[in-house]
């Protein structure tokens, strides 16, 4: 990026620029990828390319969300992505470069992650490759190898062994569907393939071009990637990349073609609600902040993702920082603010670095500063760091923290929209909300409202972790049943049964297996005694004790309580003591009643969300798994009587 500010026509040139013919490789280098060794893979790719003097473009990108497969590498050319490879290491990186250098495809045994795009017919050239995988087991094992050999032998019989390669895939996006096979390049996919089926597939599909309907898997991609649209595709450190992907088009539309009221109207049409957890309509927050008369107004991006077990915001900041900045600028324009802050956790050093870089680049390009894109709108933003306090995700505590004070919440009203940071009207939006805003302004509120349900529009990113086969990020339309979200990640790992799913972190609750068909919406989850929260989805299997999980979350809240109000400070502590007593087998049945009383008190009398919501994990485990509490109490009682 040159030092010259960008004019409107420069931006338009970026938006209409077409991709070059070059082959490329992208290495997912977010915190998770780097931890798994993505830097070494990146370096090995560069070394191999330079050794063999190949014309292949290598660059870093954010996470595709496939945490289970880190380090992940994406391979492609002008036509788009041609392969995704997981569990890479420097040796396989070199092997990949060798394959591509020889004009081959990115086919590495046990490393291929097969996208959900599947074919329905053989219109293309003759089949050249077969991918095979036993989808009942997570790791490559004998059955996959056995079928690989079987297919090879069958190809030999048909005289095709030299033309058709057979490779083992790492993950086919299908689970519990037996042996699956995908034929390339048509992507026709068969599931539950048995030994005799192999002969038919080779004879009829490969030989005669027939699709075997009874085995065909034609499912579509269950994900809708709107917030994660660029993650894993663009280089988060390059403004050019974001612009080529259509970046800042939403800002241009807002600044040059719309009044602030129209921007708020567009958000109203979209139905976007705050993705930080509470689900307050974004347009209403902005209108409320626009209304008060004040000399200065402020916008804040809340990137204090303190919810343990959630990493959506980190991935978006590390993978697409400009999209969040663009959203923040649009928010500032809509409410009439000239100053913005990113409040980011200090525990996310890479996210901080990438956001800081995005700010510097935008400033150099004239996208931050006075009279942006020749309009009357002037705006600048800076990064402020959190310091390890969960309560600072609460908006009044967050404001106190940016002001340089300890993060104690204040009673509301006055709401921040009237009297916020430094006493000025302030709008605070979550990372995911802002990343959605920039694309809503680009593609229109109506387009966005086309996803999701009546009351919960659009999409939501979930971080699915815990006892799940493939921990990863998924983005789905609101209203998708919880079961589908878990199944996208392969269901429970190690062949066990899922017991419950926890959503909303320390402020949320558990959802038992019997309620897994509940659609994910703000209302649906609240009815079950949980909340949407920021999007952590923790899967627990039969071995996990619900009392232990409740104790873990409550311990977290007690530790993070700021101590200002008594219900949270004292109630939480006493309840934790009782839970510890029960967990150790010394509890009585009356203790459960006391716990319920304390929960009620904390809920109604605590000052802020932390204290009001802290009982949720306890109450919801009591609601669905009271047996486990009673078992512990009764077993403890019996053991004591036995000792006597």
């Amino acid at each position: 990026m040159g030092p010259k500010p960008l004019a409107l026509q420069d931006l338009e040139a970026y938006w209409t620029k077409e991709a070059g013919p070059q082959k490329w490789i992208r290495v997912c280098m977010d915190t998770g990828g780097i931890a798994a060794g993505a830097r070494q893979v990146h370096q090995a790719l560069i070394d191999a390319r330079d050794d063999w003097m190949l014309d292949i473009h290598i660059r870093q990108t954010g996470s595709l969300g496939l945490s289970y497969a880190d380090p992940v590498v994406v391979v492609g050319d002008a036509s788009g992505v041609t392969g995704i490879l997981g569990n890479m290491d420097p040796e396989s990186a070199r092997e990949l470069m060798r394959l591509l250098g020889n004009g081959g495809r990115a086919l590495l045994e046990d490393r291929m992650i097969v996208p959900h795009v599947r074919g329905r017919s053989f219109s293309g050239p003759p089949q050249t490759m077969i991918l095979v995988k036993d989808t009942n087991a997570p790791h490559p094992e004998d059955r996959t190898r056995f079928f690989q050999e079987l297919i090879r032998e069958e190809l030999q019989v048909h005289g095709l062994a030299d033309q058709v390669g057979v490779y083992r895939a790492m993950d086919m996006g299908l689970y519990q569907k037996g042996i699956c096979m995908q034929l390339l390049p048509s992507r026709v996919t068969y599931s539950n393939v048995s030994g005799p089926d192999v002969r038919r597939i080779i004879h009829e599909s490969l030989g005669e071009g027939q699709v075997l309907e009874e085995m065909l898997e034609s499912g579509e991609d269950p994900q809708e990637r709107i917030v994660l649209r660029h993650c894993g595709h663009i280089d988060p450190d390059e403004l050019d990349d974001y612009l080529c992907a259509g970046g800042y088009r939403g800002l241009k539309r807002a600044l040059l073609d719309m009044t602030p009221e129209e921007v708020i109207g567009e958000l109203k049409t979209s139905g976007l609600r705050g993705r930080g957890g509470a689900g307050f309509p974004t347009w209403l927050k902005w209108r409320n902040t626009r209304e008060p008369l004040a000399e200065r107004k402020i916008v804040i991006c809340n990137a204090d993702e303190g919810d343990p077990g959630a990493f959506m915001d980190r991935s978006v900041l590390e993978g697409d920082p400009h999209a969040v900045l663009e959203g923040l600028m649009i928010a500032a324009y809509a409410i009439g603010a000239d100053k913005g802050f990113f409040y980011i956790r200090a525990e996310y050093p890479l996210a901080i670095q990438r956001v800081q870089r995005a700010l510097d680049q935008s400033r150099a390009a004239g996208l931050l500063g006075p009279n942006i894109l020749g309009s009357d709108f002037s705006f600048d933003a800076q990064v402020r760091l959190g310091a390890g306090a969960f309560v600072c995700g609460e908006e009044t505590a967050l404001i106190a923290s940016i002001e340089g004070r300890r993060g104690s919440p204040e009673p509301r009203p006055p709401y921040p929209s009237v009297k916020g940071l430094f006493g000025k009207p302030t709008a605070i939006n979550n990372v995911e909300t802002l990343a959605a805003v920039s694309v809503i302004l680009d593609r229109g509120g109506e387009w966005y409202a086309g996803f999701g349900t009546e009351k919960s529009r659009g999409t939501k990113v979930f971080a699915v972790t815990g006892k799940v086969r493939n921990p990863q990020l998924v983005e789905v339309a609101m209203g998708t049943p919880i079961r589908n979200v878990i199944e996208m990640c392969g269901g429970a790992g190690e062949g066990r049964r899922i017991k419950a799913v926890q959503t909303g972190g320390p402020s949320g609750g558990v959802i038992p297996r019997g309620k897994m068909d509940t659609p994910v919406t703000y209302e649906g989850l609240r009815e079950l005694g949980s909340i949407m929260g920021s999007g952590g989805m923790l899967v627990m299997d039969e071995r996990d004790s619900m009392v232990d999980v409740a104790k873990f979350y409550l311990g977290f809240c007690v530790d993070e309580s700021c101590g200002k109000c008594a219900p949270c400070r004292i109630g939480g502590f006493q309840m934790l003591k009782l839970l510890e007593k029960i967990h150790a087998g010394n509890g009585k049945r009356e203790d459960l009643d006391t716990i319920r009383d304390i929960c009620h008190c904390m809920r109604s009398a605590s000052l802020c969300g932390l204290g009001q919501m802290a009982p949720n994990p306890v109450l919801s485990t009591l609601r669905y798994f009271e047996d486990e509490y009673l078992d512990l109490v009764d077993a403890g009682g019996q053991a004591k009587r036995g000792a006597r």
């Binding site: 303190g306 077990g309 525990e347």
Partner: protein, 171 residues
Amino acid sequence: MRTQTEIGSLLDWVEEMRVRVREIVREWDDQEGNLIMMLHAVQNEFGYISRGVAGVLAKETGINMARIYEVITFYHYFRLTPPGSHSVQVCMGTACYLKGAQKLYDELAQQLQLMEAAGGRQGDVQLETVRCIGCCGMAPAVVVDSETHGRLCPGDILQFLKRKQEARHGS
């Protein structure tokens, strides 16, 4: 008794510290609500926020000590004591907890105690827990000297530390 040279170098260090704190304050002076950012900068520079450094910061900014201490004791991130020369932070996010982070922590603590008992220097390795670092896909996650590692067992971490220590003492 300290020799005069030792006292001299100590005074030099104090003077250098003052200069550095002054630079940090100057960098943030015109920003509203700058205290936490200055504290971050101070901790990055000195590894922790000692009483002496906090005193200089109070003098330079005019913010009284009570308020500085109110802030640094509230936030988990700020340290009031010097860190060990190596740090091992075990993530206690929910995903890591479910995958055995507590057990990992306990075993590490035990191993480190044994190492110290066997003649290792005290405070050489600082073992702590940390709130979710957002690497839930790699649970259990551990940060060793600001490098994040995933899916580790205690043995891996100890070996890793040993290699680092050897590399340091060898050079």
